[in-house]
């Protein structure tokens, strides 16, 4: 983990002067671990069904809390990514072929966990002709049929191919999420194989689709972006048709990843969340521990019911 090598930035309140592990994170980045007896059943189920979660792969600090609440974000299409984003803990390399039985097992896991709203994401599969869109579609259908759950997909950009975006939309997910992750200027250093405009185009394509899912995106803060740049992204997302945006603190998986440039204070998260609502977003969870799918089911439940086409009422 090389904690000692990962120095605290000067602008953060913890100072870094002490140099000790104690002071690496500001007070607002402290979580409480859940009792292990509430986490273990979820872990056992995932292991039994051979399923991955982005919670574990990304070392998400909310994992314990979410697992203890009996929820998880499934990561399909393997655990190896074809891109090298500098913020992400998922390893790059040569991925395995898609597992045709995976959609069924995701639905089975959702059913056994009693999930009414299921978030499904994936690694980026630039090696597959359809970018993995077929597996997303099959998983959405399996969840609708097998688990009667509403489905939120958090997709890669599919290289910007409209037919792949459409293939996912044809399976009628209730929420279509694609994260822009950061501001346009930082793409070369944070998402080197991605393109800001391409990601916006994916969102706009989804927003214009007949199945009319809720369009959602998200950003990590603390990578060195300015407030004005965040404001510009929010405006772009609104223009693309986004109705929900999430803002959370970027945390580095290791010293080899993009450094945390800034620990953004809770106040600024609050102000940016309020700004997003003023700009027309219908929900804008914003806070240090907010992640793309954090408490996603509550957001869907709050949005107007008519937009959730398969609400399990």
């Amino acid at each position: 983990m090389n904690i000692s090598e990962n120095q605290c930035p000067d602008q953060c309140e913890c100072g870094g002067a002490a140099g000790g592990v104690k002071n690496r994170f500001p007070a607002w980045l402290k979580k409480r671990l859940p009792a292990r007896d509430r986490v273990e059943p979820v872990l056992a189920l995932l292991k039994e069904l051979g399923l991955g979660t982005v919670c574990q792969e990304a070392h998400c600090p909310n994992t314990g809390e979410c697992f203890a609440r009996g929820t998880a974000t499934f990561m399909i299409l393997g655990r190896v990514c074809t891109r090298d984003c500098t913020f992400c803990a998922v390893p790059g390399g040569r991925p395995q072929p898609p597992d045709p039985d995976e959609p069924r097992r995701v639905a089975l896991a959702a059913q056994r966990l009693g999930l009414r709203h299921v978030v499904v994401t994936s690694v980026t599969r630039d090696d597959l002709p359809d970018g993995g869109s077929g597996q997303f579609a099959a998983t959405i259908r399996a969840l609708h049929e097998g688990a009667s759950a509403t489905v939120e997909v958090l997709t890669p950009d599919f290289g910007g191919r409209r037919e792949d975006v459409d293939r996912v939309l044809d399976a009628a997910p209730e929420v279509f999420n694609h994260n822009v992750e950061t501001v346009a200027r930082l793409y070369p250093e944070v998402r080197p194989q991605a393109d800001y405009g391409r990601s916006l185009a994916v969102l706009a394509r989804a927003a214009g689709s007949g199945s009319a899912p809720i369009i959602k995106s998200g950003l990590m803060l603390g990578l060195g972006e300015s407030v004005d740049e965040v404001r510009a992204v929010l405006a772009d997302l609104r223009r693309a048709g986004c109705r929900v945006v999430t803002l959370g603190q970027y945390l580095a998986p290791s010293a080899a990843h993009h450094p945390v440039v800034e620990f953004v204070e809770p106040d600024r998260f609050e102000r940016l969340g309020a700004l997003a609502l003023e700009m027309g977003f219908e929900a804008a969870p914003s806070g240090p521990f907010v992640r793309s799918s954090y408490r996603a089911e509550e957001i869907v439940a709050r949005l107007p019911a008519k937009t959730v086409t398969r609400a399990d009422a």
């Binding site: 592990v21 409480r32 671990l33 986490v39 872990l43 995932l46 945390l251």
Partner: protein
């Protein structure tokens, strides 16, 4: 009855260890169920680990600065 306070597992691919920042409690202290006992740090955040039950801390088996593996016993609480 004695309860072991362990670092909870978060899966095969999640970090398998965390470093103890500091103990909020000492051997012999009484704790309420859910009371924070120890603060730990991983690559992504600082964590507090709550007491599994109310009781008296019989022993603390990992020190500040130690790297603790998932599942490792850090303290024993006597109910």
């Amino acid at each position: 009855m004695a309860f072991e306070v362990k670092l909870p597992p978060l899966g095969d691919d999640a970090p398998d260890e965390a470093e103890i920042s500091f103990w909020y409690v000492e051997e012999g202290d009484t704790v309420e169920e859910g009371q924070d006992m120890v603060e730990m740090v991983t690559d992504k955040a600082a964590f507090t680990v709550p007491a599994p039950v109310a009781g008296t801390i019989r022993s603390i088996t990992a020190a500040e600065g130690d790297k603790v593996q998932v599942g490792q016993v850090m303290a024993i609480v006597e109910q």
